[in-house]
């Protein structure tokens, strides 16, 4: 009796340690990221970092301004959302409400495969196919633009948005749908007056997770956005090259002298990125919780 009990306890403890380890890893990442990031502010003031308009990490008068990089990330992400949300939500509605079950069963796995394509493959596709196309279509000096990055990221965020929105739409209770139809509403009226409002928090969560995916993506933006650290204009900046925060870290971390200001600046950029994705996930999570209450 005793040994059985202690065996149970033992297994429980092992599982507990393993799951705590995941949290510990997150904690460690935070620790190292912020520790090295904060060292930047010995040399540069926080305000200069957050409001600086120039990123000249290797010049004699080095300048670490976050603004061009932050706005670069923002622009590319906003573009990706504008592109992927209508497409993603429409696909989700079609799959869960309109499509024949057989068609839906056929479509769903293909959308999920999109999520499994390695990002460097997307990047290569973008570079070889989309970049020359953009340059020709818009008659630009170069096809490596924010919009190119947005479209590629939009495609990459699609599976997240479609899958989660689809779940949200499917879990709208059938009684709501039947009630609406019984009152004489058409199917389209039912979809946009009843189903979407009922599933809106799930769809919002999908969008937030899509944002999280887009803002943290590195390889694709590195390959197709041109990486020019300039402050983009809006909305004309979509057709100019931009540099995102992730691309900056990837570009410069390779050979930066360890312990230099530049090194700390890259960690500071990483910390900002971490905080942003953390907040985005937090918001997505709280929206999701709210939606659970609403449906049940």
């Amino acid at each position: 009796m005793f040994s059985r009990n202690s065996k149970e306890k033992g297994i429980e403890s092992v599982l507990f340690v393993i799951s705590t380890l995941t949290v510990a890893i997150l904690f460690l990442i935070c620790l190292f990221l912020f520790r090295d990031g904060l060292l930047l502010f010995k040399e540069t003031s926080l305000l200069d970092f957050l409001t600086g308009k120039f990123w000249y990490p290797t010049s004699v008068n080095e300048q670490f301004g976050l603004v061009p990089l932050f706005l670069g990330s923002l622009l590319v992400t906003v573009g990706a959302i504008l592109f992927s949300v209508p497409l993603g939500v429409a696909s989700a509605i079609y799959i869960s409400e309109i499509a024949h079950p057989k068609v839906a069963d056929f479509l769903k796995p293909f959308i999920e495969i999109l999520a499994g394509v390695p990002s460097v493959v997307y990047g290569f596709f973008g570079l070889v196919v989309l970049v020359p196309l953009m340059q020709e279509t818009f008659n630009l000096p170069t096809g490596q633009t924010a919009l190119t990055g947005s479209i590629m990221l939009g495609i990459m965020a699609l599976p997240t948005i479609v899958t989660i929105s689809e779940d949200a739409i499917s879990s709208v209770p059938g009684t709501l749908r039947q009630g609406s139809l019984a009152l004489g509403a058409t199917r389209w009226q039912t979809i946009y007056k009843v189903i979407i409002p009922a599933a809106i928090s799930g769809i919002s969560a999908a969008v937030m997770l899509g944002v999280g995916r887009a803002i943290g993506e590195t390889m694709v933006v590195l390959m197709v956005t041109g990486n020019a650290a300039i402050i983009p204009s809006f909305p004309g900046g979509f057709l100019d090259p931009v540099r995102t925060m992730t691309a900056t870290i990837a570009l410069e971390m390779g050979e930066v002298p360890q312990g230099s200001d530049h090194f700390h600046a890259l960690f500071a950029v990483g910390s900002v990125l971490f905080i942003i994705t953390f907040l985005v996930n937090l918001v997505a999570d709280s929206i999701k919780k709210k939606y659970r209450f609403k449906v049940s």
Partner: protein
């Protein structure tokens, strides 16, 4: 219930303790590593280490591999990090050979003197940097002044330098590239790169964009030149020269530079053997294979 809660708390504390321990240890890592390297890097041992320029890295790597193939039991380790990093390591007595894509600076010489290190320079190869444009671009030569104008942003249209009426898209490497540093020093003369210059993480990216974009201009190692792009003739003040192997080894082409090994004093033992190998016919042939230019003709 209380018991399991207690257990949980203990485990959490343990894990936290490990985390903090890990964090505390990292600060000392560097100094320990360098002490270890210093003790192993003695002339006469069967093991030497090289550190420095990333431009020299592929060359040094190839030489070291071939050298170790021929001399089993002898070990040559090669590391990158940048010319400055390598020279600092030599001054601190951490490595046997520092590799550099530039000459040692005066202040580095002074630092070496303070540490009792006498750097000896060995030029082992030539490297050339080619400025490339799309083959459709009618421009085929540039002066350094024009090139500087293109990259600092004062020249924005090909029309200003005898080309078509097209905007110039200047492409640069990322700041971790040795070529970036060299280009900045030689061509920009202290100016900043124009902020709207595209930055590519690798030579392949530059080639890809330029081969399909008639507006673009970029710079790459001469070894990467092929027919998908056009290498421009450059005029550094002494007449225009094409990026040909002859012009690069003779120094007529302005964007060519020797690559160096630095040793502490005249090399001896394994260090000497290795440098002799690099300078031998076989070693110099290897240099051409990697894409640089032999220094012995």
């Amino acid at each position: 219930m209380v018991d399991s809660l207690k257990n949980h708390i203990i485990f959490t504390l343990l894990v936290l303790g490990l985390v903090l321990l890990g964090a505390g240890c990292t600060g000392n890592e560097n100094s320990k590593d360098s002490a270890k390297e210093a003790s192993s890097g003695r002339a006469g041992s069967q093991e030497i280490s090289l550190k420095g320029s990333d431009t020299v890295l592929p060359l040094a790597q190839a030489e070291a591999e071939e050298f170790m193939n021929e001399n089993p039991g002898k070990s040559v380790t090669v590391a990158g990090g940048g010319s400055g990093v390598g020279i600092t390591a030599l001054i601190d007595g951490e490595v046997d050979i520092a590799t550099a894509s530039r000459e040692m600076k005066n202040e580095e010489m002074e630092n070496a003197g303070v540490n009792g290190i006498i750097p000896v320079e060995h030029a082992v190869a030539y490297d050339g940097i080619s400025v490339i444009v799309n083959p459709q671009n009618p421009v085929s030569e540039l002066t350094f002044g024009q090139l500087r104008g293109i990259y600092n942003g004062s020249i924005t249209s090909w029309k200003e330098i005898g080309g078509d009426n097209r905007p110039i898209v200047a492409i640069s490497r990322d700041s971790s590239s040795g070529t970036y540093e060299y280009f900045k020093e030689e061509v920009l003369l202290g100016d900043e790169f124009r902020p709207d210059a595209l930055t590519q993480p690798a030579t392949g990216g530059i080639m890809g964009e330029i081969s399909q974009n008639p507006n673009a201009i970029g710079y790459i190692g001469v070894a990467y030149l092929d027919e998908s792009v056009k290498g421009l003739n450059l005029d550094g003040g002494n007449g225009s020269a094409a990026p040909s192997p002859e012009n690069i080894t003779s120094g007529v082409y302005p964007l060519s530079r020797p690559l160096y090994f630095y040793t502490n004093g005249e090399p001896s033992g394994l260090t000497k053997e290795f440098i002799n190998f690099v300078m031998s016919e076989k070693g110099q042939n290897l240099i051409s294979e990697v894409g640089y230019f032999p220094i012995n003709n």
